[in-house]
Symmetry: C2
Amino acid sequence: MKPVKVGLLGLGTVGTGVVRIVEGHQEDLSSQVGSPIVIEKIAVKNTEKDRSVTVESSKLTDDPWDVIRDPEIDVIVEVMGGIEQTKSYILEALDRGKHIVTANKDLMALHGAEIMAKAQEKQCDVFYEASVAGGIPIIRTLIEGFSSDRIMKIMGIVNGTTNFILTKMSQEGASYEDVLAEAQQLGYAEADPTSDVEGLDAARKMAILGTLGFRTNVELKDVSVKGISQVSKEDILYAKRLGYEMKLLGIADREDEQVSISVQPTMVRTSHPIAAVNGVYNAVYVYGEAVGETMFYGPGAGEMPTATSVVADLVAVIKNLKLGVNGLKAIVPYKAKKLKSDEQIMFKNFILLQVDDKAGVLAKITQVLAEFDVSLESVVQQPNDQNPDAEIIIVTHNASKASIDKVLNHFESLDVIRRIKSVYRVEG
Amino acid sequence: MKPVKVGLLGLGTVGTGVVRIVEGHQEDLSSQVGSPIVIEKIAVKNTEKDRSVTVESSKLTDDPWDVIRDPEIDVIVEVMGGIEQTKSYILEALDRGKHIVTANKDLMALHGAEIMAKAQEKQCDVFYEASVAGGIPIIRTLIEGFSSDRIMKIMGIVNGTTNFILTKMSQEGASYEDVLAEAQQLGYAEADPTSDVEGLDAARKMAILGTLGFRTNVELKDVSVKGISQVSKEDILYAKRLGYEMKLLGIADREDEQVSISVQPTMVRTSHPIAAVNGVYNAVYVYGEAVGETMFYGPGAGEMPTATSVVADLVAVIKNLKLGVNGLKAIVPYKAKKLKSDEQIMFKNFILLQVDDKAGVLAKITQVLAEFDVSLESVVQQPNDQNPDAEIIIVTHNASKASIDKVLNHFESLDVIRRIKSVYRVEG
């Protein structure tokens, strides 16, 4: 049968994995799709570079437009990264009727709506399973597995770097700085780790999951983001003592049709299944109105896991191609977006205060909480070993973000409070 | 738009959930498929029975053939259970060009090949996501999510009843008999619990997962089965002491093209993600050559979780119907089946022996193990509190099933061994 010709943009880590799987599993793949799959052309930065995978040099080009404009190519696999320039390649490819498989979370989080609209116009497929949680088929699960359900909450550990760091800090009592340095040495963190540790990478993935889960167009600017660079050894110690693990959680939840999406270090009750997800692994917990609690666990990055998702998408595109139904199953968000206000965003909080060690302090503090209608699950006052002050550890019941902000604001001006040491969302 | 008409066979627990979801989520569902979904006719045993969901009495019939033969009906949702009679309904429905969604693991495990062949002949869809692990979309994941990969191992906690029993025994030190009685009271176990506790239910699900994972036609008779009725409090105590949890695991693994599928109580290292799956929850761990370790967790049964999977399948069938591509994506196993011989089935073993408490016993026992090439990870001899004998606890390295059978056979005739108390597979 006539082979399906694929153009590859990028031959870095993931691209190399894609070549390996397409070649190594060719027999299994062609049994499924009914014809051979050929990687016809590959755009790379440097055509002369030594590579860990063998490709005919005649297939390499340093101009992505050579790939986009090749009329023989049916499907473009984009694993080069980048945003604006890459978007122009993708849009042009769609204009030419080519289908797209991409692993590019930045592109999809920022320009997903525009790209999907173009795809729909051109009746082309755009699949992006690998853009979130690497090897975990979570996008398929949200689109197809739970098509019948009403997703109420998604909680994701969707960044392996930060989960590696927090796991090490928790298991070894190490400091953030030390573990970050180790992660950089191991290649788990980049030289400039900002995008990972400040939660930006996770926020992009949560925008994608929120869009699919709630069928409304969640944009990056809708995601409130806080990273892990301020998480201290002490915070993690407190978390463990209270029965929690510290995780950088992306949380998308909704009530009726109102949604909120955030990324923040979160204390997760150890009995919650996501609390046990350690190291560079990712997991996405999905709560559906009908199905209840589910969780999907696997490698969040890496050459072969990510390539697994890319090639699974490629198989899906080619099956659609054979049936002539590309672009006809696209999920375009059909619900108007309604973001929760700060009054509607409810969660439990952990608050650690450094206070004067004298009588009446606790009374003043609990009075502030009561004033703003924040009720308490527990409050403990204890002396601090290091200094003459005392510490107060508060865990609230569900309270609105607005109330907590007011409480913290008030605390700033309360004379008995020396310092608000930490504030964390609590889940589970 | 013209509504899609669905016929329902059965209005028990799952059928009721299907009605609830189709009615309650009608707007979301019709937005996705492009037309209303109407449950047109429902076959029940007793049309007069009071039900927890409201259905027009004119839709009820006590004759399934009324549903099968209704020319208006496009899709049959089979949630009545049963095997031979139900098969005849399904085959007749396919003959009439109707698509099938079923939650019936027994039917699919025993007659899946015949049903899929008929479906292919008639270009009809047969979807059965709900037949394994209730609300977890594991069948989709194996067919689509990992279409690119080579699945090497599937380990499943796919029976909620037995996982509830083993979890309770582990957490509360209770006996099998006591927890089984409690499970029966709670409705988690049936009056005749044989199918669950003897592993037969799990075996059927593993035949389905093995077929999909390895793309070869695994039949029920290919699954070696052992249930949990012989698991003692003491066994679980030993497991915990050595760092394991006892789980009824379905294990399907392959090496090259040779596969083995089994269900048995298994000691799972506590650090393995599946060891933490407790209560009536299910989980399926999948190891793919490229993707590595993944796990999918969720409710294994119950009205709404199972109905979620059934209606997700219904959505998929209707999308295909709109595109005119039903039956064209069916996965028909294309690999010849090669089962591993007992010499090729390798795993670690836990063996608990009751022996004479005298010198030289351990030497005799280790000699037998050496003779059959079984190497040891650990061996401990300890006095038994209850009687004058001693106990020997052996954990082997990977050894073939054939060798272990020979060892146990030899042990039977060894005069220093009073009794082989327990033998378990060890994983993780």
